[in-house]
């Protein structure tokens, strides 16, 4: 049965739809794998095996009746980051304040997954309210990196990335505000995509920073990510910032890219992302990746985006500002944790005690930072100035995409760091998202695809491919071509080289 968990989502779907195997068998295999390895990993906050098996059985029943599959992924198991609302499972956002909260509604992404016959097995761990780069900020304990259990799986979506990397599920959904899909994917050797802002509905995605948050796929192959992208993407009238246009043809692009020809594609290497502060093994792997792109026929040039140097500070003003407002609703009055209601204290006091007890240190830090940045007297110097930097970053991207089709960089400056290494140093932690933040500020598409192992520590490195807004397919095409070339050169997919945790677990 273990073999089933090693297959890609595309392969699983094909076999299920051909009725060679049943969705129930596939789901059971993955649930068994979760039982075996999750005690060591802690990728999941909630599992619902009966519901998953029932959903799988429904897919099998339909196929046996002769119904066409509801989508190309019908019957395939998947995990959802615990930041999307689910009517049948708790939604905690990794926070104590939402412990046990059962939303009375499904997120649009959840609804689309159900409608597509995708089998939702559970909810994955995350940094509290998606604030963090290591999943150590979860109120429910950290998730571990399947490549090295002493290391973080990145964050905030470390649970989704670790679950996919450890073959607990072939697919997961994450969210990316400053890199929370791409950075965990890079450090766990998975594929993670931040679609164009507005490409995937945010309705039911518990907001961290509304103007930056974007849901997207996590997978082990570029094609699987594309298949999931087409299931969860598309216009949603319940999200005012949703783009009313067809989902870019990402599956077609992934298939086209797999032919391994990038002739005529212009690739820009962002000159700002390298040098001091970058791990040598990461830079080496990146250089090898760029030379592979060249070998595939791409024209590679260096492109300077000077405003990217200011992306990190701008992000750490905009995201905390929006979060200070988005998280104001967690006051214990209508749902979630309430602390200190002794019949005597006022609502004001109970709210303050509840918020103090319900939020962890990083969330409180960012709420206060955002409160400061929006305060009268500081707004112009901080929030206002950050929004101008955002304009400059958009202009840098626009100028770059006049010259090249995609931009590339390492996804993160380093490989996975050790658990506990950066928890007391917020600034060091924030540097994890250095290369991923510009695409969030500008709203364009970006993904991370595995780029081998770092030659200094043997841990996965990610190649980031950035494309213009609504041209997500371009990033997929380049990533798919690169994936085929890398797998060919290195004798198989990187993902298959992850340590066997069942042995480790024992």
């Amino acid at each position: 049965m273990t073999r089933l968990t090693r297959w890609s989502a595309a392969e699983l779907a094909a076999r299920i739809h051909a009725q060679d195997i049943t969705a129930v068998e596939v789901t059971r295999a993955h649930l068994d794998r979760i039982t075996a390895v999750d005690p060591a990993l802690h990728a999941f906050l909630h599992l619902d095996a009966p519901a998953a098996l029932a959903a799988a059985a429904a897919v099998d029943d339909g196929l046996r009746r002769g119904d066409p599959p509801a989508s190309p992924l019908a019957g395939v198991p998947l995990a959802i980051k615990d930041v999307f609302t689910t009517i049948d499972m708790p939604t905690t956002c990794g926070s104590r304040t939402l412990q046990g909260w059962r939303p009375p509604y499904d997120a649009t992404v959840t609804r689309k997954l159900r409608a597509a016959g995708v089998v939702i097995v559970g909810k994955t761990n995350m940094d509290e309210f998606a604030m963090g780069s290591s999943t150590e900020n979860s109120a429910y304990g950290p998730t571990r990196n399947p490549w090295d259990l002493d290391r973080v799986p990145g964050g905030s979506g470390g649970g989704s990335a670790a679950a996919v990397a450890a073959f607990e599920v072939p697919l997961a959904v994450g969210t990316d505000t400053g890199g929370s899909i791409r950075q965990p994917s890079a450090v766990t050797g998975t594929v993670g995509v931040k679609p164009t802002y507005g490409g995937v509905s945010r309705y039911g995605l518990v907001a961290f920073s509304s103007s930056l948050d974007q849901g997207g796929p996590v997978a082990r192959t570029v094609l699987d990510a594309a298949l999931l992208h087409e299931v969860i993407g598309g216009y949603d009238p319940l999200d005012s910032t949703s783009i009313d246009a067809p989902v870019p043809p990402v599956v077609q692009a992934a298939r086209a890219g797999a032919a391994g020809d990038l002739t005529g594609i212009r690739v820009g290497v962002v000159s700002q992302f390298g040098g001091d502060g970058y791990q040598p093994g990461v830079l080496n792997a990146f250089e090898v990746a760029v030379s592979r792109l060249r070998e595939l026929g791409a024209q590679v040039v260096e492109v300077s985006c000077p405003s990217f140097d200011h992306a990190l500070p701008a992000y750490y003003l905009i995201a905390p500002s929006e979060c200070s407002s988005n998280l104001a609703r967690f006051d214990g009055m209508r749902y979630g944790l309430r602390v200190g209601d002794d019949g005597n204290r006022s609502a004001e006091e109970v709210m303050a005690l509840t918020r103090e007890a319900g939020f962890g240190p990083e969330v409180k830090r960012r709420i206060m930072l955002g409160t400061y940045a929006l305060s009268a007297g500081y707004y112009d110097a901080y929030y206002g100035q950050a929004q101008k930097v955002r304009t400059l970053i958009i202009r840098d991207f626009a100028a770059a995409f006049e010259r090249v089709d995609v931009l590339v960089s390492p996804t993160t400056p380093t490989t996975a760091f050790r658990i506990g290494e950066r928890v007391d140093d917020p600034l060091a932690m924030y540097l994890s998202d250095l290369c991923t933040i510009p695409a969030n500020l500008a709203g364009n598409a970006a993904l991370s695809v595995p780029a081998g192992l770092s030659d200094d520590d043997g841990l996965p490195v990610g190649l980031q491919v950035m494309a213009p807004a609504l041209a997500d397919d371009r990033a997929y095409r380049v990533a798919a071509a690169y994936e085929v070339a890398r797998d060919g050169a290195e004798g198989g997919p990187l993902a298959q080289r992850v340590p066997d945790l069942e042995v480790v677990g024992r």
Partner: protein, 499 residues
């Protein structure tokens, strides 16, 4: 504790009042501002709610297009410029009746700016109030305070929250400082709110029921020494729930502030609450720190950029506005200035016009609203417009009288039935059997009976004294409880006598 008050005349001798009026109006859209929940009043608590208006994690707002058009029409009717580009902002503060702990509101980018409203006063003069802006925002939920006296917030043991009203679309219309009002400041305040109410009603965008809270007024009042041009510190009086209260609250604040200033005191910038029963204002709890609402553009909503074509199309949909209607009523109904002013002051003009629009002759429509229905407002202590009868219902009653189906006396009984919420005029007629009896068989019997009872009168009529027929008609009317068709009775009397 009652505050010391200065005599009103003395206030005016020593100070010039400056007013600022902020009126919140709930739009009568079918749904709320940012979600598809029904915008209705009086349903069980927390039944008109969804993830968005409850502020549940993950829920998002989507702007109601009709609310935006209503805001633009209000702006156009107030002679405002429509902003070519504007956004919503978040006003951040914690309060349990606000599900997200921020209010989504247009802060520094209102959709309509720089307008004016000409306000007619009781002496017929016109005062023009300059409008600063009209902007969109959302209403809050309602809190019920339990355990204290009279449901008041002070002394309550806990509170109960109902979010049915949360997210109901609001338009806030803000005046520029109103200076030079002098002694007429309270009257101008009332006349302005009245004029705004009439305008909004004509636009059909709101119920404008102050008694139900669908129109609410906050009155900012300050005094400056006469001759000065520097505004004094202002207070903002909330909870002003009727037109009369607007006038009283302004007058009270002028007298209170005059007394404070005259005794060497200082006016504190604060929110005060109007007490309807006592006609006084009282201070709310002072805030420990100054408010810092940390406004920033609402990232979950995209900007609004009305095209010229859109604005022009909306301008074309503006109905006849109150002042235009007044001018037309004067000419078409042949009213004198005084008559017109009386109608306006009684709040009857729009109602009469609507009654005329519903098919009634102007004279009858006027007569009903200014006499019988006005008397009903006095006994009930409400405004004419707040009577539970519509112009269409009045027009129907007038039509029934014209058809001969009702006498004037019966018509008043039908109106009473409508006011008692017994139903439509025709339903009241049917339920009480109030229709005029025109059935010849029944009437003939009644006339024969009356003639038999008064043979002397019958003889007089036979002798050519036709006027004597009136006595028989009267007797028949009495016998039928006023429901007989008098004209037909008279015909029958003459026919039977000569037979």
């Amino acid at each position: 504790m009652t505050a010391a008050l200065m005599d009103y005349d003395e206030v005016l001798e020593r100070f010039d009042p400056v007013l600022g009026l902020e009126v919140h109006v709930e739009l009568s859209t079918a749904t709320k501002m940012f979600c598809g929940c029904a915008n209705v009043f009086g349903t069980p608590p927390n039944t008109q709610v969804c993830p968005t208006c409850l502020g549940l994690p993950g829920a998002l707002p989507v702007l109601n297009g009709v609310a935006v058009e209503s805001a633009m029409r209000i702006g156009l009717a107030l002679n405002c410029s429509i902003a070519p580009w504007c956004r919503f902002a978040r006003k951040n503060y914690f309060y349990p009746d606000m599900p997200k702990n921020f209010q989504t509101s247009q802060y520094d980018e209102p959709i309509a700016v720089n307008g004016s409203l000409a306000v007619e006063l009781s002496d017929g003069s016109v005062f023009t109030v300059a409008i600063e802006r009209a902007h969109m925002e959302e209403d809050t939920g309602k809190s019920l305070h339990v355990g204290g006296a009279d449901g008041r917030i002070h002394g309550a043991s806990h509170s109960l929250l109902d979010y049915n009203r949360a997210g109901v679309p609001l338009i806030e219309v803000v005046t520029k400082p109103i200076e030079g009002a002098g002694a007429r400041a309270p009257e101008i305040a009332r006349a302005y709110v009245t004029a705004l109410r009439d305008l909004l009603r004509a636009l059909g965008v709101s119920d404008v029921r102050m008694d139900q809270g669908s129109m609410r007024c906050d009155a900012n009042v300050s005094l400056m020494p006469r001759g000065s041009s520097t505004f004094g510190t202002r207070t903002e009086t909330k909870n002003v729930n009727s037109l009369r209260s607007v006038e009283r609250a302004v007058r009270y604040e002028m007298c209170r502030q005059g007394a404070v200033l005259a005794s060497g005191g200082r006016i504190v910038q604060e929110t005060r609450h109007f007490d309807e029963a006592g006609g006084t204002t009282s201070a709310g709890r002072r805030k420990e720190t100054s408010e810092d609402y940390r406004y920033f553009p609402e990232p979950d909503l995209v900007p609004i950029a009305p095209s010229d074509a859109w604005v022009q199309r909306l301008r074309a949909t503006l109905p006849e506005l109150p002042w235009q209607r007044r001018a037309r009523a004067k000419t078409e109904w042949g009213l004198s200035d005084l008559e017109l002013r009386d109608l306006v002051n009684a709040g009857a003009l729009d109602l009469i016009a609507a009654t005329v629009d519903a098919g009634a002759p102007a004279a009858e429509a006027r007569s009903w609203w200014v006499s019988y229905l006005s008397q009903q407002t006095n006994s009930r202590g409400v405004e004419l417009a707040d009577l539970p009868i519509t112009p269409a219902q009045v027009a129907r009653v007038i039509a029934l009288v014209a058809e001969g189906a009702l006498t004037n006396n019966l018509a008043r009984q039908v109106v009473d039935g409508v006011l008692a919420k017994e139903g439509e005029p025709d339903e009241v007629v049917a339920a009480h059997g109030l229709a005029v009896v025109s059935d010849d068989a029944a009437l003939t019997a009644a006339v024969e009976q009356a003639l038999a009872a008064a043979p002397d009168i019958a003889d007089k009529i036979r002798g050519g004294k036709l006027a004597a027929a009136g006595a028989i008609v009267g007797a028949v009317m009495k016998a039928t409880g006023g429901q007989a068709n008098a004209q037909r009775v008279r015909e029958l009397v003459l026919a039977l006598v000569s037979a």
